[in-house]
Amino acid sequence: MDRRRFVTISAASLSGALLAACNANPEKASKLLALAEHGNESIERGLFRHTAMDSVPSAAALAGKDFPKYFISDRVPVWDPAVRGVWRLEVSGAVRTPLSLTLEQLAALPRVAQKVDHFCVEGWNARAEWTGVRVSELARLAGATADAHYVDFAGFDNDYHESWDMESAMHPQTLVAYGMDGRMLGPGHGAPARVHSPIKLGYKNTKYLTRMVFMPSRNGGYWSDQGYEWYGGT
């Protein structure tokens, strides 16, 4: 009898707590959700392997001109050298030798071409062939130090940026891409160069890239600061 009672009461209070978390107390609920996000991030980072790669069958169709374009500015951000000077990618922060690379210098570095998925947080995925330089190659050239636990990728699409954990940035499929489907990157897709990796959701892949800053701690990001998962890994 006592146990029956105990069980009924605990079952009721458990479901009650769950329901309370949904309606009555949004603040408590969001604390619980933040806790779960934190736990999930630890698990995701624990599972993460550089050997786990995205693969797209070589015969698979590419999205081509249907590959969605997006940016946060009112109009397509275009780098105008007459106004802003020559475009350069600055690599700085926790590095021994900061870099400042023109597009030609970037294109002269070891080149990777990969046909991979792009996973959007909305649920769709699209395929394209990206050409560029591995972020790990840039980290090696700049001599990222032991303090470099995170990388912030910032661009000239207003103040768009997203910071990443170092392991994901060093994944062999994480590129600074300047080519798409065998052509130079178009203005709708982040020209002159952008981050592209199948291992993070689309919003983590900063377009219109200008700065890569290695950092001892993370500094959020455009969508992460609005409540989307900071980790955003696939």
């Binding site: 079952a11 779960a36 786990a52 649920g123 699209a126 989307y228």
Partner: protein
């Protein structure tokens, strides 16, 4: 004649109700995630298998308010769903109660007999164990669907890191389709289940809350079809109360 038995162990009762909450939150937040892009086709492709491609699910059926919020709920509640589901399955296995839900030879025939009974093609309620054969197949299909949902969910949550799970469903796109279709099937089964509880055996509600069940009121004893002989003959229920 009173015939009170302990029907559902506390583990079954607790996991049942936690599961109900978890499934509602998972389905609601999942549908909110779906609405961010309510289509299965990749950009530039078509997906004729879904006649409602591009049409969002009504907002009042969804949970989590916005895409990011729904994702937080989905990825938090999934742990409760999985741990609770495992507790239920481990209990069924250790306690031998899997026999009440795993189909065995003769269940197909018994299910046809149940259908015939419900369709008035047969006069007497078929003899059954804890559950009738139709119930049994539904209670077996639910955890099977649950396993498919969890696996396809992992496949679309981590399509690169857990890519070896994603390939079980061909690729990310098809894993999404499987995840969604399995959700729809599970919800349909659950709705039929709730309908049948109220239309055939409301006395079972007691058994899934306190654990006790009066066999004298069972559908078999009442010869009950949906909405038929719903109320047990007065004498037996009065007696059962005094005996308890």
């Amino acid at each position: 004649m009173a015939d009170l038995v302990r029907r559902n162990h506390w583990v079954v009762r607790v996991t049942h109700w936690v599961n109900v909450v978890a499934i509602i939150v998972m389905a609601g937040s999942g549908m909110r995630i779906f609405n961010a892009h309510p289509a299965f086709a990749r950009p530039g492709e078509r997906f004729p298998l879904n006649p409602w491609e591009g049409h969002a699910i009504p907002k009042w059926l969804t949970f989590g308010a916005w895409l990011g919020g729904a994702r937080h709920w989905h990825f938090a509640m999934m742990w409760i769903l999985v741990l609770n589901g495992l507790a239920y399955l481990v209990f069924l296995f250790l306690h031998g109660e899997w026999r009440d839900v795993v189909p065995r030879k003769g269940d197909a025939r018994d299910a046809i007999e149940m259908l015939r009974f419900y369709l008035f093609l047969r006069r007497d309620h078929p003899i059954q164990g804890k559950h009738n054969a139709l119930q049994k197949s539904a209670y077996f299909a639910m955890p099977v669907l649950g396993v498919i949902i969890v696996l396809s969910g992992l496949a679309i949550w981590k399509p690169v890191t857990l890519g070896f799970i994603t390939v079980l469903f061909v690729n990310y796109k098809w894993a999404r389709v499987v995840h969604f279709v399995a959700m729809v099937l599970l919800i349909v089964l659950a709705l039929i289940h709730v309908f049948m509880v109220f239309a055939v055996d409301p006395y079972a509600l007691r058994s899934i809350i306190t654990g006790w069940y009066n066999r004298a009121n069972s559908p078999e004893a009442r010869n009950a079809r949906p909405f038929y002989h719903l109320v047990a003959p007065r004498r037996s229920s009065a007696e059962s109360e005094t005996d308890a």
